[in-house]
Amino acid sequence: MWSRYLATVALVALATATGVLLRGHLAPPDLVMLYLLVVCIIATQFGRGPSLLACALSVPAFDYFFVPPFHTFVVADERYLLTFATLFVVGLLVSALTSRVRTQEREATEREKRTAAAELRARTEEMRSSLLSAVSHDLRTPLAAITGAATTLREAHRDISDAQRAELADTICEEAERLERFVVNLLEMTRLQAGALEVKREWVPLEELVGSALTRLEARLEGRPVHAPLPADLPLISVDPVLLEQVFFNLLDNAAKHTPPTTPVEISARVADRQLVIEVSDRGPGLPPGAESRVFEKFYRVAPGGARGAGLGLAICRGIVEAHGGTITARTRPEGGAAFRIALPLTGEAPVVPAELPA
């Protein structure tokens, strides 16, 4: 606090010293400008108090050193009284103006900070409520269909045809399955986010994981050409077989959900740069531009309001792949269709399985 006043005194002294040194070259009005400059600097840097002090010091300093007779406070020429007054008033004005600007600036920064905090709160709140509404929508929709179909079967079973009854029963089964899938995914997502995911690594052939996912999806992929030309000499990989199988299940399930029912699905794999690169691709509509990375966000859906899926499958994939130290990316292939690429680091030495003599 006091240091600012000391600095003010020092600056006024500095201006005076400069004036004394340059006295031969400067007219008194120039010296007045020098003092005004000092007042301006002090007002902007140190605020109102020091700038008032600078005004109060400038006038007597100017009088004492530069107004004849020198080195006294006596004024021979009355015109200098006007100069003193002008110097003092201009100094006061400058100090008042700059300090007001400073105050406004400070307030603006404060306000900005407050608004940013409020905005962040609002955004978090909005995200939380949209998350909740997504979850509750995805829970309620199948429940509504189940309740509706079941109550119709109970109350009106005599008034409806066999075909309608069968349809209602199908609805109940399908919606219950959808609900189950959603709950399973929600639990999986929670497990991933809580960091409770335990990666139990074992040495596994990729083929077994892909094969298991394809078996689980057999009915859903029926009638669709599936090409999985996996090289026979791929190394064993050290992964959690249950988790990684879930990644392939989710990717293939997505392909089944989002592409026309007779279009092909491909799975390929190769080793490159000490990594196993696996690609799951389809011939569907591909991804909308800009959605390539957003598809891995949770609750993101390519088609908002689309009935299929809750937007969790790919978020789970990313969580699992990253827990293995790998990466997963999506793109639309130039020849059409979406492609998901997983790169897993090949670490450690695969164990040797002793060969056996043929029978």
């Binding site: 089964c173 219950a176 399955e177 189950e180 899938r181 399973v184 995914n185 074992e202 040495w203 596994v204 052939p205 083929e207 077994e208 994981l209 892909v210 094969g211 298991s212 394809l214 078996t215 689980r216 999806l217 057999e218 009915a219 859903r220 029926e222 599936v226 999985a228 030309p229 996996l230 026979a232 064993l236 077989p241 249950v242 199988e245 879930q246 299940f249 399930d253 799975i267 164990p351 399985v353 056996e356 003599l357 043929p358 029978a359």
Partner: protein, 243 residues
């Protein structure tokens, strides 16, 4: 119904589940006795000598795993665990404790009936009516003559591949855990070397499956084990991500 159907003992504490099981089983010709707790279940298992037991793991008065072990200690009838615990470790524990199969809730009636039929068939075989030929799609395994053919062509398998295939085929429709298979094929000292099993399974699939990356005959139960399929058509409920 001319003769009374097989008797199923349901040990399950949830009344809604018992209601669903009673309705679906009796409508398919089974007879049903029910218990809501472990103690009552054990008593009914002794007094009624059911042909199959459906056992819920989450009972109020006992741990389902312990009950499985206890029942297995003296009873030879198949035990099918029905549980809301869907984690692989739970399945493996129940199967290794002596359960014959494991169904994760929720499940559909078709899947339940399929598992019961498989369990009944194996129980019958264990009583002496050994099935010596297992056939599925293009594959024929003749256990008596030690002959494996694919589309009528004899297959040449290594001793381990043969032991692996015949073990799974003689339990067709039933899941065998990694540990159970390793014990039987490689011996008790190798129970933890699952990578042996995985590599030989891959090898075997390359010989018997049309597309080894899309197996139709030997399916993988992720984190649990393998199952020799006893029907070729897709298992409707299994496609769902039910864990």
């Amino acid at each position: 119904m001319s003769a009374p159907g097989p008797l199923v003992l349901v040990i399950e504490d949830e009344p809604q589940m018992r209601r669903f099981l009673r309705a679906s089983l009796t409508s398919h010709g089974f007879q049903v006795v029910e218990a809501a707790a472990a103690k009552e279940g054990t008593a009914l298992a002794t007094s009624h000598n059911p042909e199959v037991i459906l056992l819920d793991l989450g009972l109020p008065d006992a741990d389902g795993m312990a009950l499985t072990r206890e029942l297995r200690g003296w009873a030879r009838m198949p035990i099918i665990v029905i549980s809301a615990r869907g984690r692989e470790a739970d399945k493996v524990e129940a199967l290794d404790a002596g359960a014959d199969d494991y169904l994760t809730k929720p499940f559909g009636v078709n899947e339940l009936l399929a598992r019961i039929r498989v369990a009944l068939r194996h129980a019958q075989q264990a009583r002496g009516a050994t099935q010596t030929v297992v056939e599925i799609g293009p594959l024929r395994v003749d256990l008596g003559r030690r002959e494996v053919t694919l589309d009528g062509q004899e297959l040449h398998l290594t001793p381990i591949e043969y032991r692996l295939l015949t073990l799974l085929a003689s339990h067709a429709g039933k899941v065998l855990t990694h540990r159970q298979i390793l014990n039987e094929v490689w011996g008790p000292g190798h129970a933890d070397q699952t990578h042996y099993l995985r590599v030989y399974m891959a090898q075997l699939r390359r010989k018997i499956e049309r597309d080894p990356a899309r197996p139709k005959l030997l399916s993988t139960e992720p984190g649990v084990g393998y199952r020799f399929r006893d029907r070729l058509e897709p298992e409707k409920r299994r496609e769902e991500g039910n864990r």
